[in-house]
């Protein structure tokens, strides 16, 4: 299939690698800071804050999964997470 034959709504072929990188950078920061705050909230047993921060973290990882799913043809490495639920799928 040539570029001209691909459906225009197919983001997998429209989004350049640089944009994927640019999207992952702030997402990485949001996830990192939220997880650090979550650890701190867990330490002081602030249950309300823990619940909210878990929602932020879950939303962030869901966004990452959506990005990976839509850009899968561009990706080669989906590393396993610590719980072993990820996959290693060359494409």
């Amino acid at each position: 299939m040539t570029d001209g034959e691909r459906p225009p709504e197919d983001l997998r072929y429209l989004v350049p690698a640089a944009l994927l990188h640019d999207l992952r950078t702030p997402l990485s920061q949001m996830l990192g800071y939220s997880e650090m705050l979550l650890e701190q909230a867990e330490e002081v047993k602030n249950e309300e804050l823990v619940r909210d921060l878990r929602k932020i973290r879950a939303a962030g990882w869901k966004l990452l999964a959506l990005m990976d799913a839509n850009f899968q043809p561009l990706r080669v490495v989906v590393l396993e997470d610590a719980s072993g639920t990820g996959t290693d799928t060359p494409s």
């Binding site: 690698a17 990188h21 992952r24 990485s28 920061q29 990192g32 650890e39 997470d81 610590a82 494409s91």
Partner: protein, 134 residues
Amino acid sequence: MAKILLVEDNEMNRDMLSRRLVRKGYEVVLACDGQAGVDMATADCPDIILMDMSLPVLDGWEATRRLKANESTRHVPVIALTAHAMSGDRDKAIEAGCNDYDTKPIDLARLLGKIETLLAEAAVRKDSAGASAS
């Protein structure tokens, strides 16, 4: 506790990851570009290096090649960190001399596992070298 050299040009990534590692008990020293990373690896003698690959002055691939070409730093494990996760990136990092590779966003538990594995392997090599020398 082990000393980690974090080479990362993005200020928020540097701040966030260094604070998380310090909270886990590691000593963390920071470099903002590849050349500073190479210089600090020689001067500060870290136990392991976390190397962003898209860096100013000297990129992470070239910085790693220089570290692995230097007798005083070649034994220090290097973990490549990148937000790219694209075709060829992992192979490119390993070919440059990186001992392992991880992607951003960081899964901290996974990264800590890789750090501890490489530190343990380095300790074994150091013990073996010491036994051979004595």
